[in-house]
């Protein structure tokens, strides 16, 4: 494993050495990260079930010790997979930023970002975990800054604020746990003797801390602002894998701590809320990158549903339920990384050629960018869980786990599980609406802005290659679900129960439900032949269609007549007015044109964050008066502080 890390570090250093040759630095730097992550993909896959460790310089600052168990290998594999696609993509995509900043720095930071995530996964004590956790946050902050604009600066500050709150919560959880176990080494945590109250306190701190990084409701507010602000190859990494590192943290704590059933139910409730609110806010977005970011909130919710079911199973001593729950959660981690990475890369390609994030001015791009359109379509179908692609299988396993949970006794747990199943189904219906909107408004129909459309063309080869690596992933993890399930089960069985989820080509649940994704693909393809045979048999008229404008009731067709993104969800926004609390603006004035805009707001920002920020701003305004430049006053402050310190020491 150390070779993988060293390769990334080499990439980081070499690209910094090439600081003067900007474009070469990017090519070399991203190629090295591509090679490193490809090697990582193979390494972590072949060593999935094994454990490995290494230490550096004995007892040098807090004993730098790194270890990987099967869970760590699995998460490292996911990181390397998305990093591979994203690096290949970035080789040419990064040229976009040649004028905005130093590409050498970008490539170096990119390598550092990946290696910091990998090291967070493998760190084996509190000190180094926190160090690399913060390195990961700070490096991603720098990477967002490459898109230098007022909005992205604001986004990064919000991101840093919430990341610090989360970091504080995680550190407190770690220190409390270390205090109880008597050592900062992770190995000692599993044997710690904890009172239920203490365990609960540690769990809640860790859940809030890692949850804030994962973008779980209600700490999700930074995510839809920060992820779209980054360059797209970085967005893919942030949304695809960085938030999974937080899931890894939650999982680790659940393995260490003596879990209780209500923790599982809490995770499930939060998961269901995140999923539902994530998709509802995604539906109102016109900025396609922000929309994808909201879908990350949704998918983190779905992952939490699986993890929560696993925790519940662990706590109630039902090992099969734990196994299926964690299987669903981890499978969705892999799948979400694949298709969200793909969608962000696709969004990056659109942005690369059109230079706008507003989908209302796009349209008809499928004719100009056929490969990008196909990749984006596959990503959309995978994220909406359409069989036989990968998203369907992990959602199916999650459904099975939750239904099995709902079969248990106890009204409370039954209610939580059943309502979450319904929430997940509703999320599915809403996600379809959302991705129909994104795909068809960007790639379908007539161009809404002729100039943008005229300038658009297909993106360079490396960007297409990057996307198609993940397209292949979406198909492979779906059609080869039985193999994937078997491997993830070997990971899950290292810390929770076990059951044989794969049987030949079939994926099984403990309840006796079985699916076979190759069969689904076979039947769909087989039925696709049916209409063609029918047309052949009846000798249908298959002359080439006459091309016309769309029918507009006899009026001359104009591209302004067609549907845009906002009205597509208009009915939904009317129905959910109570949630969105839209800001409606009318442009007044008798002679002026009437302009009407209607923006849904993320009410949680106003509800939970705005008051805190306002209080702090007001308080600092008050405190500002103390700093008036008068040196006499300053010496008074020093004197008062001294007296206070003396007084306190006297009391103690």
């Amino acid at each position: 494993m150390i070779q993988v890390y060293l390769l990334f570090l080499a990439g980081c250093i070499i690209s910094m050495f090439l600081y003067k040759q900007n474009e070469t630095a990017a090519k070399v730097g991203f190629t090295i990260s591509a090679v490193a992550s490809f090697y990582g993909v193979i390494y972590f896959f072949t060593n999935l079930g094994s454990t490995s460790e290494f230490s550096l310089g004995n007892d040098f600052i807090f004993n730098p010790h790194f270890a990987l168990d099967p869970v760590g290998n699995f998460f490292s594999f996911v990181i390397c997979l998305v990093a591979f696609a994203s690096s290949v993509y970035a080789i040419q995509y990064s040229q976009e930023y040649a004028k905005k900043g130093s590409l050498a720095v970008m490539a170096a930071l990119f390598n550092l970002f990946i290696v910091s995530m990998l090291l967070v996964i493998s760190a084996a004590n509190v000190f180094w975990f926190m160090i690399f956790w913060e390195v990961m946050t700070v490096v991603s902050y720098f990477l967002i800054c490459f898109n230098d604009s007022k909005q992205s600066m604001k986004a990064t500050i919000i991101y840093m604020g919430i990341a610090h709150l989360g970091g504080a919560a995680i550190l407190s959880a770690f220190l409390l746990l270390a205090n109880q176990s008597g050592s900062l080494e992770f190995a000692s945590f599993a044997n710690a003797e904890l009172s239920p109250a203490m365990a609960t306190a540690i769990f809640l701190l860790a859940f809030v801390g890692f949850g804030s990084k994962a973008g779980m409701f209600p700490m999700h507010v930074w995510l839809p602002k920060a992820h779209p602000a980054a360059p797209s190859n970085v967005s893919a990494l942030m949304s695809g894998v960085m938030i999974k590192v937080a899931i890894f943290g939650i999982l680790k704590f659940c393995i260490w701590l003596p879990v209780m059933p209500w923790w599982g139910l809490l995770i499930i409730i939060i998961g269901a809320l995140s999923a539902l609110l994530g998709v509802l806010y995604a539906l109102t977005q016109h900025d396609y990158k922000a929309l994808l970011a909201y879908h990350s909130v949704e998918n983190i919710g779905i992952i939490l549903l699986g993890i929560g079911t696993g925790v519940y199973g662990m706590a109630t001593g039902s090992s099969t339920l734990a196994a299926v729950g964690f299987l669903g959660g981890l499978f969705h981690v892999l799948n979400h990384a694949t298709f969200k990475g793909l969608l962000f890369l696709g969004a990056g390609s659109v942005l690369y050629r059109t230079h706008t994030k507003d989908m209302e001015v796009l349209g008809g791009l499928a004719k100009k960018m056929p490969y990008t359109a196909f990749a984006f379509l596959v990503g959309s179908m995978a994220i909406t869980a359409i069989p036989p692609l990968n998203g369907f299988v992990s959602e199916w396993v999650t459904y099975q786990a939750m239904i099995q949970g709902a079969l248990g006794e106890g009204i409370g747990s039954r209610a939580v599980f059943t309502i979450s199943v319904v929430a997940l189904a509703l999320v599915g219906a809403l996600a379809i609406m959302c991705f129909v909107k994104v795909y068809s408004v960007i790639f379908g129909g007539t161009p809404r802005n002729q100039k943008i459309w005229d300038n658009a063309r297909e993106v360079p080869t490396s960007m297409i290659a990057g996307m198609f690596i993940l397209v292949a992933g979406c198909f492979a993890f779906g059609l080869g679900a039985n193999v994937v399930v078997e491997h993830i089960m070997s990971v899950v069985s290292s810390f929770a129960g076990n059951f044989s989820a794969a049987d030949g080509m079939l994926v099984k649940s403990p309840m006796g439900s079985i699916i076979s994704t190759p069969l689904i693909a076979f039947i769909l393809l087989g039925s696709l032949i049916m209409p063609f045979i029918t047309l052949y048999v009846v000798k249908a008229n298959r002359a080439k269609p006459r091309e016309t404008d769309p029918w507009a009731c006899g009026f001359k067709y104009s591209s302004r007549m067609q549907m845009t993104a906002a009205p597509f969800t208009g009915d939904l926004r009317k129905v959910l007015k109570w949630l969105y609390k839209p800001e409606i603006h009318h442009e007044e004035g008798y002679f002026g044109p009437v302009k009407y805009s209607n923006h849904a707001q993320d009410v949680w920002w106003n509800l939970l964050y705005a008051p805190v920020i306002n209080t702090i701003t007001k308080a600092s305004d008050k405190i500002e008066k103390m700093q008036n430049g008068n040196s006499n006053l300053y010496s008074l402050y020093i004197l008062v502080a001294l007296c206070l310190a003396l007084g306190i020491s006297q009391i103690l």
Partner: protein
Amino acid sequence: MEVIFWMIIQVIVIAFAAPFFDGIARVLRARLQSRKGPPDFFQTYRDIIKLYKRGRTAPKCAHWFFTYAPYFMYATGAAMLACIPIAYSGYESIGFSDIFILVYLGALLKFVFGVASVDSGNPFAAVGGSREQMIGVFVEPVLIMSLLVVMLVAGTSNLVDIRAMVRAGEIGYFIPAFAVASISFLWAMYVESGRNPYDLAEAEQELQEGVLGEWSGSDFGIAHAALILKQFAMIGMFLAIFEPWNFTNPILALAVFLVKAGVFYVAAVFIDNFGSRYKLISSFRQNATFALGISTVALILYIVGA
């Protein structure tokens, strides 16, 4: 292999018989409206064949997705039918007959429908597409709640097993939750099959045949057949779970299924003929809330253990 053989037979037979029942429904509807209507029950076949012979037009702006959408829709409808254990109900499941596969194939159909409607560039089609999605949002919770109750009562999502259990009397209407769920599922099934008063997507003249507006000739014929298939799939889903009494002999089972599904299909004329069309976010919404209430009752009955 035998299962796949009967699956194919089942889909082909239903695909060819379905327009006949549509023909009966049309004759009956015409009589109810005091019109003369089609001369016999085979009018839908003649319509589709006529469409196959016609030339086609296509909007300039649309890309390949729109062109092949009717075929995708047909394939999905056929796959949904293949998913329902009718002729092969005597065999073990081979990994295709699962409630979630059926529900998510329905989602695929909605996806294709939605993307094609916006891709056509036709303003009316896209409005229809948007409403179709909205209907999906209203129906999905009711549908899944009813099915969830069934899956919980049966302890599996395997459609073949559920059907066998209901037929053997292990689970059934004597369980209150199951009985109530059957009512709300019936509503969901009716709405999903896209009939009046819920057929907003395919509202006729004022929306220029809604979503289907831009297809013509053989493409339109295929799309038309796909929608009939989907209706049969939805009815089939109801029959497989809530009314599974049938023969085990594949051919007899298929024949009986066709008659039963046909009765449902034709009987729906009595509802769609007399109702006026519902507005999406007023009367439709109230209706959906009512159905949601029924399905919630079913779920609560399960949760408290009744």
